[in-house]
């Protein structure tokens, strides 16, 4: 209970890491010594030392579910911004509809938001996405919130506990893309509460006792709003 105020250990690029462990993610080795590559949080897990960046862009991984926005339409594909350094093409063969050549805009147009899966990434950073899987689709209604991709695990919480709590308290539908784009749908008051809670999680991701504080916040909001959740 008393560790609640604590802050996780923050390291900066080039800082030597004295903790024992095998080099994991976000670190590099020079002359047998371990250093951080990022401004991030130090984390030891299963014998590995990792640095989780506190900010930064999304680097796509095969299998990630992401939320993206259509920014261009071509005869046989769409171009989707998934907030990675590179745009992702979505080919007509990777959608659940039969699309005739040149008729792409009938199905998805510029500005449409989709829930997609990263189907492939190569070493040049090129990335392909697909809509061909249960649950993948165009998202309609609601609102988008953007957070740092490295904070996605905190928003989801252990075993999805944090996100479930947000849903329970606000009555909103929420989907968190691995790329840090969050889709929220529901009553406007609920959306406003979710936005506030997510900003809290984002700003305090590096502290202990976050779940309890978010819970207290949601209780307070519920008290004020009198039955905001439906």
């Amino acid at each position: 209970m008393d560790e609640k105020i604590g802050i996780r250990k923050i390291v900066v690029p080039g800082e030597e890491i004295l903790e024992n462990g095998k080099p994991g993610k976000g670190v590099f080795v020079e002359n047998g010594k371990l250093y951080s590559s990022y401004l991030g949080i130090l984390e030891t897990r299963a014998g590995y030392v990792n640095v989780v960046p506190l900010s930064g862009c999304y680097i796509p991984k095969k299998g990630d579910k992401v939320i993206g926005k259509v920014i261009d339409v071509a005869p046989v594909n769409w171009v989707v911004d998934i907030r990675a350094p590179y745009y992702a093409p979505l080919h007509v063969n990777d959608v659940p509809w039969h699309v005739d050549f040149g008729y792409t805009a009938r199905y998805l147009s510029i500005g449409d938001v989709i829930l997609a899966k990263v189907s492939n990434v190569n070493e040049l950073g090129q990335v392909w996405i697909t809509l061909k899987e249960q649950g993948l689709r165009k998202l309609e209604g609601g609102h988008l919130i953007e957070i740092s991709p490295s904070k996605v695990p905190r928003v989801i919480g252990k075993g999805g506990s944090m996100i479930q709590m947000l849903k329970d308290y606000t009555g909103c539908r929420i989907y968190v893309g691995q790329n840090g784009i969050i889709w929220v749908s529901g009553p406007p008051e609920g959306i406003v509460t979710v936005i506030k809670a997510i900003r809290m999680i984002e700003n305090e991701a590096h502290t202990y006792g976050l779940t309890d504080r978010i819970k207290a916040f949601l209780e307070e909001e519920r008290g004020e709003g009198n039955g905001n959740e439906e």
Binding site: V70, L139, G141, G142, L144, E146
Partner: protein
């Protein structure tokens, strides 16, 4: 609060609908009322090397305005008047959509709208800036430097220009032209911009609102309640009634903003 990094450029139907839905409930994406501007903070004298300066923070929009004053030749048609020159830089650090390079049409429009407010509102008594009639006058350069772009640059820049002019000194001694003196500022023409979202008029639109607004209207009014400049923008239209409503609201907001500009927030940030 804004999602602007991801939404820069293409605005989705989803975001548009959300803002409209909020408007129909009488509120806005950041919880403001329709006629409410974002928190405004003005730090005068931010850059000591300039003859006058002010950092304006209007919500997340940040603009730094610096004034330089130098002697120069008057324009042939106005031999007994000082010169006002306004320039705006949309520095690429302020937004992913700003490109390095010479000022584009947006920067030029911004500079001209701010200039028009100051000039037509006779903010500066230019006739007091003559050193030698027809030969030598003070040239007042207003340089607008946009640092963080979250919408409504017209107002943030206009407030910055007024605040910077209000604390500017004419550097006469440096040029051996007598003692330094306060730049003669006689009026405070304050711009207020509204965006039209659906059928609603919202004051001081932030970037998300600005991106989906169909039309925009800036009205500059002075402390006497006179109108000094207007600029309508974007492809949408206003009804005559809407324009009248915007003018009246601009005067009300302008009064409050003028008090903040005239406030003694001198000295740089903590």
């Amino acid at each position: 609060m804004s999602n602007s990094k991801f939404t820069a450029g293409v605005i989705s139907e989803m975001e548009k609908n959300y803002i409209h839905r909020l408007a129909s409930k009488g509120t806005r994406i950041d919880g403001r009322k329709f006629d409410e501007i974002r928190p405004l903070k003005i730090t005068k004298g931010y850059v000591e090397r300039a003859e006058g300066s002010a950092l304006v923070e209007l919500g997340n929009t940040k603009v730094l305005v610096g004034i330089k004053i130098e002697p120069g030749a008057p324009f042939p048609d106005t031999p007994n008047s000082g010169i006002l020159a306004t320039n705006a830089e949309l520095a690429p650090l302020a937004s992913p959509t700003f490109e390095p390079g010479p000022p584009g049409e947006e920067a030029v429009e911004l500079a001209r709208v701010v200039d028009r407010g100051i000039r037509e509102g006779h903010a500066i008594d230019l006739e007091k800036l003559v050193i030698e009639e027809g030969e030598n006058v003070w040239v007042v350069f207003v340089d607008i430097h946009v640092l963080d772009y979250d919408g409504n640059l017209f107002d943030a820049s206009g407030y910055g220009a007024l605040a910077a002019l209000a604390n500017a000194m004419v550097p006469a001694s440096k040029h051996e032209l007598g003692d330094d003196f306060k730049l003669p500022v006689q009026h405070y023409p304050v711009p207020v911009t509204f965006g039209k979202i659906g059928d609603w008029m919202v004051a001081d639109p932030n970037l998300d609102e600005e991106s989906i607004a169909s039309a925009r209207l800036t009205v500059t009014t002075n402390e006497e309640g006179h109108i000094n400049a207007m600029q309508k923008g974007l492809s949408g239209t206003f009804t005559y009634e809407e324009v009248q409503k915007v003018i009246n609201m601009s005067m009300d907001i302008g009064r409050k903003v003028r008090e903040i500009i005239l406030g003694d927030s001198d000295g740089k940030e903590d």
